[in-house]
Amino acid sequence: MKLRLFLIAGLVCSLLLAGTSCRQEASADEKGKIRVGIVFDIGGKDDRSFNAAAFVGVKCAETGKRPDGQPCEDNKGALGIVLRDVEPGNPVSIEPAMRAFAERGYDLIIGVGFAQAPIMDVVAKDYPNIHFAIVDGASQLPNVASLVFKEHEGSYLVGVIAARESKTGTLGFIGGMDIGLIHRFAVGYEEGAKSVNPNARVIVNYVGVTDTAWNNPGKGKELALAQIGKGADVIFTAAGNSGLGAFDAVEQQGKDASGRAKDFVIGVDSNQNGVKPGFVLTSMVKRVDNAVYQIVSDVVNHQFKGGFHIYGLESDGVAYAMDDNNRALIPPDVIQQAEEAKQKIIAGQIKVTDAMTK
């Protein structure tokens, strides 16, 4: 009985400790600086994908360097901000984290991921003088900037590349959670593939229907193996950490006699070409880093605007990634075809279905 009390006391203490560790008052060197708080999605900032891209954006704004110490692209310099981040362990700790930032008068609070949009709506209403930004979500409030991407357009382009590179005509898609935002990737990908090969078949799978779907690489791998078993030889993942299982699956299939991988994976959000070099055809990058950096910069320069900030192909907000890891994998005429499709989408000649407005 005593021990049970001891256990409970220990638990309470650790919770208190966890609470106080966030409760840092503004120290002297923080005075006068813009303070930015970011609340990550359940995947956490090390998902090598979506959250990682958001972290690159805020880290560049803070230090002028990426989290791994590399210099930032496009001359993104330090903006002289104070940065605090929170990685919620479960969905219920998102709102307290946001409110904690708001209570301490942070200048900008960034929520990462569609799941935070309804929560941010509630919190932002209570703090009309604080700027908020939601990545992948939409809000009607004037003090919330909605940073959204035309994922369907970027997915269309990787669909074009995938269908051209596929030998079997069967492609795979692995989504994380079965939600509208991820359907947008799937539909764009399928349309892109069918524009090149009308007979292409796209097997669409989802890891799950709850937030654990982003953190289940074992199941991601099983889905990829099942798709490969059905003939898929290019698999596009949009599943956070679970997608990394698909990378393992294609690596396991090995390379053919000519040294070319038998099956390929297409990465998502961040440039994942270097995760398994030679097995990653390309990545559908979503420049969350640029969008997040831009909104921080807007706040620093007192130019913050609420409402929608839409990032598409024309602003390189979404793109397919080419680098030294995959240049040898894709022939120039395929690149040319993808570039033509890109120009046509920008010009409005090709309309890619947006699964979220359908």
Binding site: R4, D178, N215, L223, L225, L244
Partner: protein
């Protein structure tokens, strides 16, 4: 239909059942000795994180696997001391361990890898995709033999059913229980190692996603017996495998809606548990700390 029922489905079932079998057999040792072990989820996470980290540093999956066994046993030792030495509520202790292990890897990975909850990826040549499967299926008959045909197994069962009688016969109840709980930690540790360095190539936060609890359900469904428990684990693995294989399969030109497929494992589990389980009797002394008479 031949797209559905094929060898891939079988292999997928086996791979998905392997971590469940390892954890459930671990849970069996603990529970047959009378100590409830709902900490399987946490023990698996400990094994998974340790295996990925140590394999990454040591460059050898065998060192990683061994470390995962040790890590599982060490965490199980906490459970054992709290439940046996201090006679605390076994469910509370198990829950505490599960909570501890959702947080500890994030903290440690921050210290080792400047990351928050995941490890770097282990190169493919350092993965062990098959060994844990062999271990899991070899352990089933071995566990049966140990439980039913050895003096150790007899004592273990006696301690779980009637600790007073076992004590009177000269068996040290607490020593048996310590051994059993440590074994459960070691086995769940192997199950976790399979997740991180067998099935995948890294540890990510909460990557067990409930497998520890499913293993516990399989243990109860299997009536705390090795072979039945293995069959229960295979059933759970099969339901997940079929859900995976069914996605994107066409029946009469129509694809089955994904939401319907996602519920199959749950519906099948309910049907099986409600319809076929029959009477499942727990070890009689399960959950009761042993107080030696003075």
């Amino acid at each position: 239909m031949n797209e559905l029922f094929n060898l891939n489905l079988l292999f997928s079932t086996i791979r998905l059942a392997t971590p469940l079998i390892l954890a459930a057999l671990g849970g069996m040792f603990s529970e047959r000795s009378g100590v409830i072990n709902i900490a399987l989820e946490g023990l698996m996470l400990a094994g998974a994180f340790t295996a990925a980290s140590i394999t990454y540093y040591a460059g050898s999956p065998w060192v990683g696997l061994f470390a995962a066994i040790l890590a599982g046993a060490c965490i199980a030792m906490i459970h054992a001391v709290v439940c046996i030495r201090y006679k605390a509520d076994q469910v509370v202790s198990g829950t505490a361990i599960n909570i501890l292990l959702t947080g500890a890897p994030a903290l440690l990975s921050g210290a080792f890898f400047l990351s928050s909850g995941s490890t770097p990826q282990v190169p493919e040549q350092h993965l062990i995709p098959y060994t844990p499967i062999v271990i899991a299926f070899a352990l089933v008959p071995l566990t049966w033999y140990v439980l039913n045909r050895t003096p150790f197994g007899l004592r273990l069962r006696a301690v779980g059913e009637n600790p007073e009688a076992a004590d009177a016969a000269g068996v040290s109840v607490n020593r048996m229980r310590y051994t059993a709980v440590l074994l459960s930690g070691a086995l769940a540790g192997i199950g976790g190692a399979y997740l991180s360095i067998g099935q995948s190539s890294l540890f990510t936060r909460n990557m067990t996603s409930g497998r520890g609890f499913i293993a516990l359900a399989a243990l109860i469904f299997g009536k705390w017996r090795p072979v039945q428990t293995m069959l229960a684990c295979l059933l759970f693995g099969f339901t997940e495998a079929i859900a995976i294989q069914l996605q994107g399969v066409r029946f009469g030109g129509e694809e089955i809606p994904n939401q319907f497929i996602q519920i199959i494992p749950y519906v099948l589990t309910i049907v099986v548990l409600a319809g076929f389980i029959g009477q499942s009797r727990a070890p009689r002394a399960l959950g009761i700390p042993y107080q030696k008479e003075r």
